[in-house]
Symmetry: C2
Subunit: 382 residues, 2 copies
Amino acid sequence: VAVTVTWPGGLKSAGVASGIKPDGALDLGLIVAARPLAWAGTFTKNAAAAAPVLWCRSLLGTPVRALVVNSGNANACTGPGGDAAVRAVAGAAAEVAGCEPEEVLVASTGPIGVALPAGAIVASLPEAAGALTPDVDSFARSILTTDTRVKVTASGSGAASLVGVAKGAAMLAPNMATMLAFLVTDASLDAPALQSALDAAVHRTFDRISVDACESTNDSVFLLATGETSVNEAAFTAQLESACSSLAEQIVRDAEGGSKLVRISVRGAADDDAAVALGRAVAGSTLWRAAVHGADPNWGRVLSALGSVDRSLDLGRVQLSIGTEPVFAHGAPAGSLDTAAKVMAADEFEIDCVVGEGPGAAQVLSSDLSPEYVTLNAYGTT
Amino acid sequence: VAVTVTWPGGLKSAGVASGIKPDGALDLGLIVAARPLAWAGTFTKNAAAAAPVLWCRSLLGTPVRALVVNSGNANACTGPGGDAAVRAVAGAAAEVAGCEPEEVLVASTGPIGVALPAGAIVASLPEAAGALTPDVDSFARSILTTDTRVKVTASGSGAASLVGVAKGAAMLAPNMATMLAFLVTDASLDAPALQSALDAAVHRTFDRISVDACESTNDSVFLLATGETSVNEAAFTAQLESACSSLAEQIVRDAEGGSKLVRISVRGAADDDAAVALGRAVAGSTLWRAAVHGADPNWGRVLSALGSVDRSLDLGRVQLSIGTEPVFAHGAPAGSLDTAAKVMAADEFEIDCVVGEGPGAAQVLSSDLSPEYVTLNAYGTT
């Protein structure tokens, strides 16, 4: 699917094939700016964070000129060789961008524990630099792994322009940005303001999606600002949240092996964080996700998941609905399972969990668990 | 598979078909004692605990004469009707056992949220009472759901006799006994001593297994003592732990849709509890479990799972082995993936995670995630 979106603020990007992916697909993305940009980033909290994540964290607070991302290799758990590979890539990108290596952000996604073929990337960066274009399309395609389509969002009329691209697929759980996303705006905000806006937006979007409850070593969300357009910070944060929300939803819709989008709405929790925890518990239940795959209204698995994280859950106050069909209310089964099954037969549906403990609410997006997910993830390392 | 094990202390049991299971399989088990027995129990911590769990918890500390268990229906999340069903079953069992309803333990396992057909159970209890025998076989078969075989353990030479039966299959995660298990001993111990021994044994066995990381609403472990044989408490606790360990392993070997037993050994954790938490994180990773299914040595998924629960994990100190093959050491990949893949091709193997933080150690038993598990759990409610 070709995308006809261009980066704001005159930014350019390219996507080329460096040979990391054996099938010759695009696997190397490059973004280059004409001058140093303020930026913000959120990264995985996983202690086994990948080498590029460690590199980017060390650059937080200083302006950047370029960004390199490869798919097909996570450069995670790769030891000192992994760090050296990041430096080699940043150095080569600095050369083609005309900046310092410490002005180059680096991101990777793919299998863990395999040495990054930095030489192939270094050799392909001049080709990428020669292919730079305002069009996001080839860059958006170069970052995909088992994603089946590009994920792009764009907004801007009457405000700052904001364009984002992302990739997802699997090893995707809500705890910080849980995939790769690259957002570019022409808003004029300094790094602390950008970081504050990004933290707020990520907390309410990428932190509330789950494909398989597995936290990645490489999750990164980048926000680059070219600075041409004055903005109201609150309005920009709302715009950013909307963009992140769009990308998050696109990621869940394209979940590895998944065929359904389930909006898990939790209301009446002690607070919003508690609501998120309850929603995540449901989103992470393999039994419930298997039932979603079969459109089987096995709501007991939802209650069981809620009760496994909230030890003081009072079943007498819990109301559970699948779509608009109540399936559990006043401490007992309710409604029609056949109606609930019809709701679940759709590609997208909502379950509503009212727990009766307080004002907290959140929506967590999740997908189904399919035999295909297992098959997709059962082989491949050797 | 017929089992030729008899209960200690003259206890008798039976298993009959009450019609709960549509295929006419055994679904109702009854144990009756000639006099009141001291007992201990551990139950799910799930806030959506089933009606029979609430009933048994209320009886802790008082002697019992009988135990009724049904498979094919969990009597969980069934509201006031579920509590009434338990009382009806306990009352009917009290009649055939010649005791009070408050001397009858009740357990259930099966789908959640379906009204228990108490009438069918009540009608079948006289038949069960007429079939009472010292042989555990029909009782052991009556408690099975998607289990493919009975799970029995027996020990006793030179000590107290101890016989246990269990059922498992799915919705099985380590947080308290995560299935049904019934242990009977002729040891002479009072209820507090039995409870202390059971808590210790369960903590190190049933609490350290995981099939799908889904915590059940019905998990219960019962220990009944007929009191003929004087025992040393420490020796009995060790005997009990061994019996629970055997049942726990049998449960994981017969995991729903599973074909492999994986011993996740964690060493060098801050303490034993931290080691259990790390082991559970690996056991709960759908990505790692899919790789186990395909015998794919994707050790990065193990590291990622460890790093998702231990935020201070120092990769430089982590050593990971699949069987005896090191796959990650000194902060970098090591060893041969082909050798590791051969290890994983076996029906049973161990992974060893040394995290270098302290003296804590634990072993968590887990299984693989198969397409069959998903298919088994995707349908059935309607």
